[in-house]
């Protein structure tokens, strides 16, 4: 393990990253059962969070709730494979509880090895089909993982997602959360909705309310398969543009009005997931409320940075459902006139860029005077704008990210705010550029 810790320092010295996965890889190679034994040492056990969208934010919210009272081993940097969880445990020697976000595909293995006392499952959307494969297959692997959980483990699921909510039927005593405010329902299912067909009989679900993608209050008119009863719910949601969102958290232990500093209905879902998991782990309702209200965004997901005389608003986009929510929230909060869209196609972004055509960019494009497209697949992003009805002469292609940032800042008046929507590796590269200019700290420092 000393070797692995040394590898973490080397990785940082080499400037290749925060040393967030290398020591885990080194240790796993030297000792394949390291994760099992490291997890076994935690006196309060471990809790896992997985979802296509929101796992980093949800986990960070849980950390905010629990950290005043419990010492955590938390993979805050988002290193969410076996190697990242192992590295986190290595560097948090005095931790009492392991709190890990886990990649959807890695969940079965991490759960088998860590033997968690609680697992929180948020949602499943189509995401990087070249890497994860079809949604149904991920759902099947999750179902098997839930069946194999230790008998005493608590399951927390989002009842609003048909595939995820149905897992509560695998495990009596599962805690089900969901949204209960039909005023925020969309008029129809979005294009990016995935689980539209009844799990039991294949008939299309009917939605009393569809909130985010296929998340909502669904029921099959043919066989009656529907949303399980909610034990933890968000009611009376008030969205405050880009500034935040308020909601009433209704749990078996009581109700609290929560004022979130992060925006959008998707963050209400994240807060609900975090509250449910924290409650399942024994947190007090007052601590849940206070933690959620203290919470700022997980790095780069939604971030405001001051860059000299201008502001920079960074919103991560990585798959259709997540991008739709980010765009919806952005437009609701006051549509920008200029945006920089950064599309990369590394493995972590998805090598297949077809997902950008499933995103509803049109509400954003409708308000823009100009768009700057950048990244390794800038031209593809330009085509998405062009065939989405945006005038080609108002599209600027600047493939190199730093040049695109500077062009965006140049087009932004002093005192104004530039909106940038990067994919994952573009977001990391952007943070590096901005931190090298002295405006933000590297993420591994911030996360610590």
């Amino acid at each position: 393990m000393a070797v692995a810790r040394a590898a973490a320092r080397l990785s940082r010295l080499a400037g290749t990253g925060g040393g967030t996965t290398v020591p885990g890889k080194v240790l796993s190679a030297l000792d394949p059962d390291a994760l099992d034994r490291l997890a076994e040492r935690l006196p309060l056990g471990s809790a896992l969070v997985s979802a296509t969208n929101g796992k980093t934010t949800t986990t960070a919210m849980v950390a905010e709730i629990l950290s005043p009272r419990i010492r955590l081993a938390h993979n805050a940097s988002g290193a969410n494979l076996v190697s990242g969880v192992t590295s986190t445990l290595l560097s948090a020697r005095n931790a009492e509880l392991g709190l890990f976000e886990v990649d959807e595909a890695a969940l079965p293995e991490v759960a088998r090895r860590v033997k968690p006392r609680a697992v929180c499952l948020g949602n499943l959307f189509r995401d990087q089909l070249d890497r994860y494969g079809e949604l149904e297959h991920v759902a099947e692997r999750w179902r098997a993982a839930v069946r194999d959980l230790p008998a005493e483990a608590l399951l927390v699921v989002n009842g609003d997602d048909p595939q995820v909510g149905d897992l509560s039927r695998e495990r009596p005593g599962a805690l089900v959360f969901g949204l209960d405010d039909t005023r925020h329902a969309r008029p129809e299912l979005q294009h990016a909705a995935d689980s539209k067909w009844c799990l039991s009989c294949g008939h299309p679900y009917e939605y009393a309310a569809a909130y985010v993608g296929h998340l909502g209050d669904y029921r099959c008119p043919a066989c009656g398969h529907g949303r399980p009863p909610l034990e933890v719910a968000a009611r009376d949601v008030e969205l405050r543009g880009l500034e935040g969102a308020d909601f009433t958290l209704a749990a078996p232990a009581g109700e609290r009005r929560v004022r979130l500093a992060v925006p959008g209905l998707y963050n209400v879902y994240n807060a609900l997931a975090a509250a449910s998991l924290a409650l399942a782990l024994g947190a007090e309702l007052d601590d849940v409320q206070a933690g959620l209200e203290r919470f700022g965004a997980a790095f780069g997901r939604f971030e405001r940075i001051t860059v000299g005389e201008r502001g920079l608003l960074v919103l991560l986009v990585k798959n259709p459902a997540g991008a739709n929510e980010a765009l919806h929230t952005l437009v609701q909060g006051g549509a920008p006139k200029l945006a920089v869209l950064a599309l990369n196609d590394a493995i972590a972004d998805g090598r297949d860029v077809s997902w950008i055509w499933d995103v509803d960019w049109e509400p954003l494009l409708a308000g823009l005077d100009r768009v700057v497209v950048t990244g390794e697949r800038a031209a593809e992003m330009a085509l998405r704008c062009k065939y989405g009805g945006f005038p080609p002469e108002a599209i600027e292609v600047v493939p190199e990210l730093e040049g695109a940032l500077d062009r965006g800042l140049e087009l932004t008046p002093a005192g104004g705010e530039l909106v940038m929507l990067p994919t994952y590796t573009a977001m990391l590269a952007l943070r590096k550029i901005v931190s090298e200019r002295g405006f933000v700290r590297p993420y591994w420092e911030r996360a610590a």
Binding site: G133, R351, V353, S354, I356, A379
Partner: protein, 250 residues
């Protein structure tokens, strides 16, 4: 105004790889030339009326969704084959391509019925063939063009003897990862595994389909005005370079 009528088969089931991007390209490139493209969804409850469409589009779905609509699609087989005999154009992508063949057999041996338009069948393999893919096509004699896209399929597709592939694989896996060919063509019908979506970065194929559809509507193919395709060419080059550097590898 001249009109092209598109029948979009099962759009709510078969849309996994951004199929609506292909439709958007067809609609815009028609509109920029003063042609109206009218898209009619043709789903489980609807008949395919003889002669009603100049172009049929079938996208890809997840396994479950393909299984849900396969019998209904196969029941429309006569109407689809008649439409192609009558000169209507077809673009079928990924799952849609497989289901327009004779059958699809999954890993457990269960078969989904096909339409039988394309002389081929598909059997699920052990590994998914995933990656960027580049083809050389010659849809019109003497006119060699390249198609750049992304493939992601478990099915291995076998063309029958004498069947015409859509193109020769320059980089990528293609129909079965071995034959060196990709897709299938029967007259005015094109089937392929390439998405991305396919048409934005390969506008020449979009125009070829529009020309076939117009010929079906008007009786002869008019000359289509050329369009400024600088962004499209750039995207094509990037995608083609991706296929050359990392296509066709596990």
């Amino acid at each position: 105004m001249t009109e092209i009528r598109v029948g979009h088969l099962y759009p709510e089931y078969l849309n996994i790889y951004a199929d609506r991007g292909n439709i958007a390209v067809l609609a815009n490139r028609a509109r920029w030339r003063g042609i109206d493209l009218v898209v009619e969804p043709v789903s489980v409850g609807e008949e395919l009326r003889p002669g009603a469409h100049d172009l049929l589009y079938v996208g890809g779905g997840q396994d479950r969704e393909q299984a849900l609509i396969a019998p209904n699609l196969a029941a429309k087989g006569d109407a689809i084959r008649e439409a192609v005999d009558g000169g209507a154009a077809v673009l079928a992508v990924c799952g849609g391509y497989q289901l327009l063949g004779r059958f699809y057999r999954d890993r457990g041996g269960a078969e989904l019925p096909g339409v039988g338009l394309f002389p081929l069948h598909t059997v699920a393999g052990e590994r998914r063939l995933i990656g960027d893919c580049l083809l050389e096509c010659e849809l019109e004699r003497g006119e060699k063009r390249t198609l750049a896209g992304f493939e992601n399929h478990a099915g291995l597709t076998q063309l029958e003897a004498g069947a015409e592939p859509l193109g020769r694989v320059i980089a990528g896996f293609g129909n079965d990862g071995e034959s060196g060919f990709e897709g299938c063509r029967v007259g005015t019908a094109i089937g392929t595994y390439l998405h991305g979506p396919l048409l934005p970065r390969n506008p020449w194929l979009a125009d070829w389909l529009l020309a076939r559809a117009l010929a079906h509507r008007l009786g002869e193919a008019p000359e289509l005005a050329s369009l400024p395709d600088g962004l499209e060419q750039e995207a094509h080059l990037v995608s083609a370079a991706r296929a050359r550097s990392r296509g066709g590898r596990f």
